[in-house]
Symmetry: C2
Subunit: 244 residues, 2 copies
């Protein structure tokens, strides 16, 4: 069996009992090195295999191999493992095996980075929303740009992940240009960095005043829909109860 | 203080320690009657105000009033309270008050219904996705239809909530017609009913073979993007690691 376990955004108090119970059953736990930091007590006495960023294929292949040998394996993934996480890749690699050697895979959901960051802003995702990763490492930029344009036109609230790294600044600049074509300059924007982690920060701005330099790989960017508004230090997208 | 607490999809083992700690601090807990069922032990000895479905405005107004009188109030919301939940409405009503009478509002994120249902299917949300409620009670149908069409054109994975009730069958039929215009007949579709609740069920089908009668208000409907595929009994939307 492989448990693909969502460990939440980082704070141990957002790790669910279901995730803890799944990890307790594992003989071996595989993950990105940085995820083990807050889990030392929970994983005490278990074999842990720590991998570097970028070694997602290796992590998934190792998990499948160990499980095929009869081990109970945990693969930890920050936030929710189904959202740009390890669940898909492990299922793909396990799925290649013939039925007799194919391990069972169980996905344990978690509090996603998107939900956690949104909570710190108030309720930016109170109505229909779209989640887009701005990383063009695995996805052609044309696909990302079309998604941005369509979502902006259809007045979705947007949550943008992996928005900008030191080397990769171009996608975020392009995204701002695309969004400005369809959304008002005063559209509220919320920036949450390291939600429920040590260096957490929250900032409110607008599409026109957004400073790209304030955004990095640890930031989730929320762009409101036409109804989203700033209420004191929160962002709220009304669902419409008060228009009835 | 008002804590707006996400209690997860229903199973107590998906309620976070942060949610438990927030509820422990509350003198008074407000929510939809159906949410209290699994929380009896947790809320033992606390004053609980149970409201009916549709009484969202009353719940929010009561919470703000009680908090303005100095009480520590919990508002429970299933899944994540920021996603079509109570967070926005409470913030709106609290925000109307003058600063001196305005209670502090803290949103405690939860495992959303979308993440929970997706986990049972495998990894349908492994790439960019859009979440749309098909309820036209508070949102004009034209807005919903435009969002469906734009999201389908931009190849988002779709998670459809509140898809179909006994009386309200028309929106779901319309949604299927709109999606069929842009997506292949064989697009994988996953149906999850009552994720992590007693009558949980999971079914896989395709856009062409989807039976509207198999969908109700307790169902979350996932419609794949052009890359989503069925892998044995799971749905997977690859992020693209294997194309590198």
């Amino acid at each position: 069996v492989i448990y693909i376990v969502g460990i939440g955004p980082g704070s141990p108090d957002l790790l669910t009992p279901q995730a803890l119970a799944a990890l307790a059953r594992c003989q071996l736990v595989i993950g990105y090195d940085g995820y083990f930091h807050g889990l030392q007590n929970i994983l005490a006495g278990k074999k842990c295999l720590r991998f570097l960023l970028g070694q997602e294929m290796k992590r998934a292949a190792r998990a499948v191999e160990e499980a095929a040998h009869g081990h109970t394996v945990g693969v930890i993934s920050s936030g929710d493992p189904g959202i740009y996480g390890m669940a898909g890749l492990v299922l793909e690699i396990a799925g290649d095996r013939p039925a007799a050697e194919r391990p069972e895979v169980v996905v344990v959901p978690g509090v996603s980075a998107v939900n956690a960051a949104a909570a710190l802003l108030g309720a930016p995702l109170g109505h229909d929303f779209a989640v887009i990763s701005l990383s063009d490492l695995l996805t052609p930029w044309e696909v990302i740009e079309k998604r941005l344009a369509c979502a902006a036109q259809a007045d979705f609230v947007l949550a943008l992940l992996n928005p900008r790294s030191r080397q990769r600044t171009h996608p975020f600049d392009r995204a701002c240009t695309v969004l400005a074509r369809y959304r008002a300059a005063e559209t509220p924007v919320g920036l949450v960095r390291n939600a429920f982690r040590p260096e957490q920060s929250v900032a409110l701005t607008t599409l026109a005043e957004l400073q790209p330099a304030s955004v990095d790989m640890f930031t989730t960017v929320f762009v409101g829909n036409s109804q989203t508004r700033r209420l004191h230090h929160h962002l709220v997208t009304p669902r419409g109860y008060r228009n009835e």
